[in-house]
Symmetry: C2
Subunit: 316 residues, 2 copies
């Protein structure tokens, strides 16, 4: 199978298409964090994105790519995280039904959020098998189109628009650091980089407690994610067969970080930049903080993927 690829024009079309439905998020800087790292840091704040994460980009592009018939029959996905909210909102904007398969033990706050965006929650057992079966049943029963949270062409193309915004604002960054979970964002970022700034190096940031990407790259094959142990709840998913080859081909390195590194980075950013980022975002900043020597005097853009935290259960 050939690695997924996009032309520059294709990506610009995706950007134009989803632009009316998403925020162009700000890129912020911090003198204190520059001083602390010795790097010139730029933070792309997808935490300020609609629904609180970059996921709305891919979800919106997937929704806008449906045919007329598909629109009538609705969409379905399984996610208990940011993609659930994103697909609910993106579908809702177009008056499309969105079934969201969630494990019955998902936090109440996440269920509430999905409902508030208009998603229809369908509960399942907390196993991958049950999630897939439940989603399949909805596809068969209602003719709904399954949208994968990351392992899907339209979703990856949508996530790529985040990097386009970066390249339109920052001239040739040396590095972009991206957290990796299922690999949708980093794949989109890597493919956009090929089109817009091929000399920029893409670095993946991953929790040590969910380091399937690191191990998959080492072994040259997808290592499934088993019992991830990290507070970075957005990064507990395994790679897909679309995203892994892109990561293999275009990602320069993976930096893994400890739970303490994540909490430290999260607290540092909240305190210094006064911006609420979720643990998955902090993974990217943590990667820079523990590898300062690599980034000294470099232009480094860190993608802060989201800002959805459970404020009553903070890890500090």
């Amino acid at each position: 199978m050939q690695t997924l690829n996009f032309t520059l024009n294709e990506l610009l079309q995706v950007k134009d298409r989803i632009e009316p439905f998403i925020h162009k998020t700000p890129i912020v800087t911090s003198k204190i964090l520059n001083r602390e790292t010795g790097a010139e840091l730029f933070f792309k704040c997808e935490s300020f994105q609609k629904t609180g994460s970059f996921k709305i980009r891919g979800a919106t592009n997937a929704i806008l790519s449906l045919t007329g018939e598909e629109v009538l029959k609705g969409v379905v996905t399984h996610s208990s995280g940011n993609f659930a909210q994103a697909l609910s909102k993106a579908a809702n904007l177009k008056g499309i039904k969105a079934w969201i398969v969630m494990p019955e033990n998902a936090p109440k706050s996440k269920k509430e959020a999905v409902k508030s965006y208009g998603g229809i929650i369908v509960e399942c057992l907390p196993t991958l098998k049950s999630r897939e079966n439940t989603a399949n049943e909805i596809v068969e029963k209602n003719g709904a189109t399954f949208i994968h949270p990351y392992n899907q062409r339209e979703v990856i193309a949508g996530q790529a628009t985040c990097a386009i915004e970066i390249y339109q604002e920052i001239d040739s960054p040396d590095y972009i650091v991206v957290p990796v979970g299922g690999g949708g964002l980093i794949s989109g970022t890597a493919l956009a980089t090929q089109c817009f700034s091929p000399q920029t190096k893409i670095i993946a940031a991953e929790p040590k407690g969910a380091d399937d990407c690191f191990r998959s790259l080492q072994q040259g094959t997808i290592i499934p994610m088993e019992s991830p142990k990290t507070i970075a709840d957005g990064l507990r998913t395994g790679l897909g067969d679309l995203t892994f080859p892109i990561i293999q081909k275009y990602v320069s390195d993976v930096i893994t970080v400890s739970e303490d590194d994540i909490i430290h980075a999260m607290k540092l950013f909240w305190t210094r930049a006064k911006i609420v980022i979720e643990p998955s975002s902090a993974v990217a900043l943590a990667a820079v903080l523990i590898s300062k020597e690599r980034f000294v005097k470099k232009s480094v853009t860190v993608i802060l993927t989201g800002g959805n935290v459970d404020i009553d259960n903070l890890p500090f």
Copy 2:
């Protein structure tokens, strides 16, 4: 004594003078919070200001108003909060010595912050008497100029520039809601409003546990602040003889809020807007949330005064 006043030109000159040394802070909106309140809300984010609060505006103007001789001899203030950091930084930028009198029991994090901005900490006993005596000694011994955190013309003029930025971006707001502690910011806001948008109503927001402004207005005389009980540490100070008459003359109303209201507003803003605000800022949002009927369909600007929180001691 005549109430303090500024001409429009005077305020614009102050704005020009301090502009190179401060941030023009963003004004953000939130569809969710608009929906929740029925008002059109604008949040002026001084939480993103240098040193993490609006205090740098007044401190910078005070420093830039010193004579050549005063510059040589340095400045002194007593504050354990945001003004301590602000004056340290403003003085440091101009290479001026700043003695900061702080009670010996002030949190270590606050002392560290003052040091990091270049302030010279002088410890005193945790009483008003000791603070004043210690500051006076420094004035006498070193010839330093005392800068009051709020009850001083140059400081109030500096704080007024925040409202000027609001009026340059928002056309005739119906209301500006401002937390009140010593009254420096609300006085500056009120005086700027007289010049730039006299029809805009100024509302003070105050914790019930430190409601000296509310009681002072009721009784027509300054009621000293005694044993304030609030997590809004920036609002534990009493009014000054310069600020009180301005508040009496130009502030439409004071809304007092409970500690629960403050914590709820703080959590709500962190969660929805993804911006870290300190309890004193949350007091202003809380005032809007508990008085929704008054603000329905109105254009309401809320000044979020700062974002300096002790992340390891959050009230939730």
